[in-house]
Assembly symmetry: C2
Amino acid sequence: MVMDIKSHTHHISQQYNLELDEIKTKLSEMGGLAQRQVNDAIQALIDADAETAERVVREDDHVNDMELDIDEDCVRILARRQPAASDLRLVIAVTKAITDLERVGDEASKIARQAIALSGDGSTPRGYVEVRHIGGHVSRMLSDALDAFARLDIDLALRVVETDNTVDMEYNSAMREMLTFMMEDPRNISRALNIMWSLRALERIGDHARNLAQYVVYLVKGEDVRHESYDEIQEQIQDDNE
Amino acid sequence: MVMDIKSHTHHISQQYNLELDEIKTKLSEMGGLAQRQVNDAIQALIDADAETAERVVREDDHVNDMELDIDEDCVRILARRQPAASDLRLVIAVTKAITDLERVGDEASKIARQAIALSGDGSTPRGYVEVRHIGGHVSRMLSDALDAFARLDIDLALRVVETDNTVDMEYNSAMREMLTFMMEDPRNISRALNIMWSLRALERIGDHARNLAQYVVYLVKGEDVRHESYDEIQEQIQDDNE
């Protein structure tokens, strides 16, 4: 009888571990999809590829569905398992992370819509270098943030936060460039606006990757570092290590 | 002895109720502050009032602090009280709602920054009618969504979702108007962009109010209706009532 109970307890706990693993796995999958959407949207914009852009818009529903699915899993774990300490932090961090990934999907859709609007022109317009450059940054940030989450790698997470500062600077400079482009000739206005909206979406994706990275700090350190600068976060982590 | 235990249990449960009430109260407070920020930012833009705009930017920290504070309360309740059923839904809905309110604060800051940029000009430029009009809509949406949350009023929540469709239409029309304004004279470009960014921020605030309203449906019905249209949500609620 004792063995029965023991093996039962063991089973429950194993099942619980599986459930925790599963939300982590699903988060990675959702992150992978969101990142593919971002990459495809950027490529569609640069290649004037309306077909790919339309697929990105269509597949946004898929990202949304994953959010709802993972959210349900998290609520179920909270209700049934009543997680404590680091398990609770994991569930909370996943709940927040999927909101960011869902928004990343939205922003990818916005870029794809601009790509559709731009695809009729065919020429190589101004601003594509900037889109490609900033796009490369934020795509890397997203993949690093997801890796940092999966491996609880706080150094990698910090690097993501640092890169976000670079992206913000490059974004501001690209926006000024687009303003100049508009002012040179009013015929450029509509096209420049399409690029500006795309740049804005990329900058937002960078912010979401930064949020993801900050949840990693929360997971590892138990400290909420949203709204803190890179320097503040680094200081806090060093204080903890002393 | 029995009485002791009873009174102790009673005390715990009463304390627990107080904690749940407290996060609701704090959410209302945070919502009130976020809404004041939005109203002040709109007014600052229309009145070319840089001083008010700067105060809005400064006070965004206050909104951020409230998010962290309420978030901590929610985590504490999850860890200590292990809420179930509707209590769990409340805690989860509050956790999500504060993320939206924090973003509302961010968007108010963005409008305030545009107001600062525009305040040097002094004249009554094109686009202010649209800002005032759409601003009025989203401010009302926000206050209705917060009321709906406090009173669990699903009809009011639905009205917020419905209004968001109107806002989106008016936003698109205002953006076209600004594009025309730009094309008329390149000297209008910079100013028109300031208005466009402000309109965009208002449209986003409308989206967040819509999210808040959808959490009310989740709280009352236990159903997640994010990513569903007004018609779909209404249908679902009617199905439930049959």
